[in-house]
């Protein structure tokens, strides 16, 4: 049983998805989905324990060894991202039953849980697999279920957002497909490990350069790197609250993982960064993304859109860390990948609570909310402070490592720009705080009076808020995992 864990990680949600479709009433479907994702979380934890103990796990699907068969390869980076995805998937699902009852019609709810599990299966599959073409297939499984989940929002703009995301997402995925095809053409293999070994021999050909360009641009579309982020704000703003929490915390993170995996393991650092200006592109777009998206976030009147733009800015930090191309920078990226998932998970779940009571997340309606929903708003404030990077929160830890990595390179003006990004984050957080705590509640006083969010939304929100503070104080686990993974990525691949 234990040796089958790498494949079970993907198979469990994949098989649970069609089963959830059959369950009525919807609460039963929710319970079933919760059990399935709980099992997924347990599998990720045991995988991480195994990887730390024995090193890289290799699982040959159906017993066919690597060059012919497909293999799942779990090293420290995979185990780290798998844990992140299944942890967030489980915690967000805790709140789903209460929140979805308000936002999706009763008869559509089992479909919601089925698609949720399918999306999880896709995301976990991208991370677990060691086969380049499998990455594309799982990417499309998760993307197709995501489009549908977004379109389930009550607002008709959700449909329009979903359509736009479908167009941009498919172009991105097709670029990735072209990249993988060209790589196969030059090397005759799709296995990531084999690709890494065979690429150096042909890496100066125009075909491999083209493949790299297509692949990197495709992934950047998927991870919403500025200025390819246009699909993201609407998709996050109009999707059901639970979907936003899941996507913001996992989907873009998995795309970042794909970028790291291909740039570091497959193309190899020297090739990707010396033959092509990938490294400059990531640096420049990362910094510009941080600044422009933060300014755009300040201008938003809908709080979900505000945090969606903030996500684009935070993706800038992760990409910047990759672009620095040193171990500290990559450690900072991986740390921020994990930490940002905790922050945005907490923030969007808290907004799910606000939406549950008010049926809107317009900034105007936050007036006086600090007294009416103290726990929910406290969660937003702590999550927001973590975004800013205040000490004692996880945001501080990842920004600290990022600045260290920048100073290691000696580019101190860049460090100022990163700090400026944090100040901008403080500005948009302050707009919410001001509205919630320093404006009086509207005179007509909401009838009936606004109450605290229900327990089943508060509980997972605060779980993530506490994780934000805990991992900000006790950095042993996350920092050591991230730095071990990044050292592994900088080690050349051996046959």
């Amino acid at each position: 049983m234990m040796q089958h864990l790498p494949v079970l990680q993907v198979i469990v949600p994949l098989l649970a998805a069609p089963l959830a479709l059959l369950l009525r009433p919807s609460r039963l479907a929710w319970l079933f989905a919760l059990i399935a994702s709980g099992a997924g979380l347990f599998i990720s934890l045991s995988l991480l324990a195994q990887v730390l103990e024995q090193g890289t796990l290799i699982y040959a699907l159906g017993g066919w060894a690597a060059p012919i068969g497909i293999e799942y390869r779990i090293d420290r980076l995979n185990a780290f991202v798998l844990l992140l995805v299944s942890l967030i998937g489980f915690v967000v699902l805790l709140a789903a039953d209460t929140s979805i009852r308000r936002e999706i019609d009763e008869d559509k709810q089992p479909y919601f849980y089925s698609l949720y599990l399918l999306c999880m299966a896709g995301l976990l599959g991208i991370v677990a697999t060691g086969d380049a073409f499998n990455v594309f297939v799982f990417l499309e499984i998760s993307a197709l279920s995501t489009y549908t989940l977004i379109a389930m929002g009550r607002d008709r703009r959700a449909l329009w957002a979903s359509y736009q995301y479908l167009i941009m997402g498919t172009i991105g995925a097709t670029f990735i497909l072209i990249g993988i095809g060209l790589l196969y053409m030059m090397t005759g293999t799709l296995n990531m490990h084999d690709l890494a070994l065979r690429l150096p021999a042909v890496q100066n050909s125009a075909t491999v350069l083209t493949a790299t360009a297509f692949f990197v641009v495709g992934v950047c579309l998927k991870l919403a790197l500025f200025p390819m982020h246009l699909w993201l704000p609407n998709a996050y703003a109009y999707a059901p609250s639970i979907v936003t929490a899941l996507l913001a915390a996992t989907a873009t993170k998995v795309a970042i993982y794909v970028l790291i995996r291909f740039v570091f393991t497959i193309f190899g650092l020297d090739f990707a960064f010396d033959s092509l200006p990938v490294h400059e592109m990531l640096l420049v777009l990362g910094v510009v993304g941080i600044l422009v998206a933060s300014v755009l976030a300040i201008a938003q009147s809908n709080v979900k859109r505000l945090f969606a733009y903030s996500s684009v800015a935070q993706i800038g930090y992760m990409v910047l860390g990759i672009g620095l191309a040193n171990t500290t920078g990559l450690t900072a990226s991986l740390l921020h990948l994990f930490n940002h998932a905790l922050m945005k998970g907490a923030l969007f779940l808290a907004l799910a609570g606000v939406f549950y009571r008010l049926s809107t997340v317009e900034l105007k309606s936050f007036q006086g909310l600090g007294r009416q929903m103290p726990l929910t708003l406290a969660a937003i404030v702590i999550g927001g402070l973590s975004l800013v990077g205040v000490p004692l929160t996880v945001g501080f830890v990842s920004k600290w490592y990022l600045v260290l990595a920048i100073l290691e390179r000696g580019w101190w003006p860049l460090a100022f720009l990163v700090m400026l990004g944090s100040l901008l984050a403080l500005v948009y957080l302050w707009r919410i705080v001001e509205m919630a705590y320093f404006s009086p509640a509207p005179a007509d006083g909401g009838n009936p009076p606004v109450k605290e969010a229900p327990l089943m939304i508060l509980l997972p929100t605060w779980l993530l808020v506490i994780a934000n503070v805990y991992f900000g104080l006790d950095t042993d686990l996350t920092v050591s995992l991230a730095s071990l993974a990044s050292i592994e990525l900088f080690t050349p691949v051996v046959p």
Binding site: F133, F136, V137, E140, L144, Y147, T148, A151, R156, R157, L159, W160, S162, Y163, L166, I167, T170, I171, A173, T174, L177, I178, G181, Y184, M185, L190
Partner: protein, 121 residues
Amino acid sequence: MSALLHYNYWIVIVLMMIGFYIVITHSNLIKKLLGLSIFQTSVFILYISMGKVIGGSAPILSDKVQIYSNPLPHVLILTAIVVGIATTALGLALVVRLREAYGSIEEEDIQAQERDEGQAP
């Protein structure tokens, strides 16, 4: 003349550009999806082209044949074709819902309605 030897790749590039152009310029949502479909189809042809071995026959086992074309790209692209169909179907379903919600399948109409809604308090 060497450029003409690889005419299949030229077809791929031309189809790809046609598809991409339709996606970018057309305002009709269904036309956009068909452009996307053409764009994806060009990649199918790219994969099938690269599986061809000169002088090789179709990869079906036979006593008379010594050289076969590479079957793997065909298998891979079969998966991608399924993905493409699923995407187009989902996109068309979304267009049906969009028409119910907005009463139009023109991008400009929908965006105009969004703007009006945004200005109204």
